[in-house]
Symmetry: C2
Subunit: 213 residues, 2 copies
């Protein structure tokens, strides 16, 4: 659930977060009052709340939502004073609007998992939630399968073209596709294309170089 009175930020962020495979925006509010209403209605897992908002501010709204979902406060002025106020009304996170999007995503995952972002170990907490929690099926996709999906999502769909693009035989393309279908619970390449895009598997190659553990 997002709350911010600046609609460009609100709608932009909503769009951006929706594009992250394991995150979902269930509602947006333009002020504290709307936030309170929507939270009671939709019961989100996490709230992202701007500190400054007309009518009922983010701080004030959180004060009224004492038993609501965990909230991350977002602000332009990330000073100690605001931070203290946010903490006082029960916010479990406090981020500047200058935060990069992937960090925000990590913060949302962390808070959704019940962790707090108010401690000294912020870096470690965020780090441990850096990667998206992929759906059971998608997590088991092999690198080559992801590559094939990415290619498919770029509009190359025939067995022949895929084979040429990936420098493998048509047979192998069909084999990979069959594995993908099974893992994702789908049956054809149209659905595969949809899933590929939904999972953010299009464009280059997500290679999270994992050297240790």
């Amino acid at each position: 659930m997002l709350a911010d009175d600046h609609r460009l930020l609100l709608e932009g962020l909503a769009q951006a977060i929706s594009g992250i495979p394991d995150l979902e925006v269930v509602g947006t509010a333009e002020d504290g009052d709307e936030l309170i209403q929507l939270v009671e209605l939709t019961q989100p897992d996490v709230m992202l709340v701007d500190v400054e908002m007309p009518n009922t501010s983010g701080i004030a709204a959180l004060g009224q939502l004492t038993d609501g979902p965990p909230a991350i406060m977002v602000t332009m002025h990330a000073d100690a004073e605001h931070r203290a106020k946010a903490e006082a009304v029960g916010a479990v996170g406090f981020l500047s609007k200058s935060t990069p999007l992937p960090v925000l995503a990590a913060a949302i995952r962390a808070v959704a998992a019940g962790e707090s972002l108010m401690g000294d170990d912020l870096e470690q907490v965020l780090d441990s939630h850096r990667e998206p929690v992929l759906t059971p099926g998608a997590a088991s996709l092999t690198p080559r399968e992801k590559e094939l999906l990415a290619t498919l999502a770029s509009g190359i769909s025939s067995t022949d073209d895929l084979a040429n693009e990936l420098f493998i035989s048509q047979k192998t393309v069909k084999n990979h596709l069959a594995s993908i279908y099974e893992k994702l619970g789908i049956t054809d390449r149209a659905q595969a294309a949809v899933e590929a895009i939904r999972l953010g598997l299009h464009r280059p190659s997500p290679e999270p170089d994992r050297s240790d553990s």
Copy 2:
């Protein structure tokens, strides 16, 4: 080209604008200096510039980019004073960050078309650019064809399922698909799914109630 020091807004907005079929983000800058560099490098059609930015502010940057592309200034404080400053440095638009995204989109289209948003007829100018400039092929899609594409993009791909979903015969589904293929220059439903998503044809039904001319 977008410039704003608040990365949540910057990246969120970039994502959101990229999602609009006829708009493209060619770069983002976090301050005026970066903006100046990037504009010279990528020569965008339109700049969206935050008034307040560290180092070189939006106002200052525009002052240096006198012969650059048309710029829309965006700010949290949409007061007359800031507006005057924006106009003084050659901005052709001045919008609050509380502007809804579709209005921003219209503003970008208008400015890209060479119009100014500084006049009294702001409403009319925006209105005339409310709808996306679709690609030649996509523009000629019939409502039913768009509906089919949307359904396809939702993961319903087999002729049979599509027929049931749309309450028509399998034959008609194939006929519609054939028309779509021809209009979009593609050959199968995997590509159709990709295009549908790319064109923003997924989710509800874009029904721009056009009563008068």
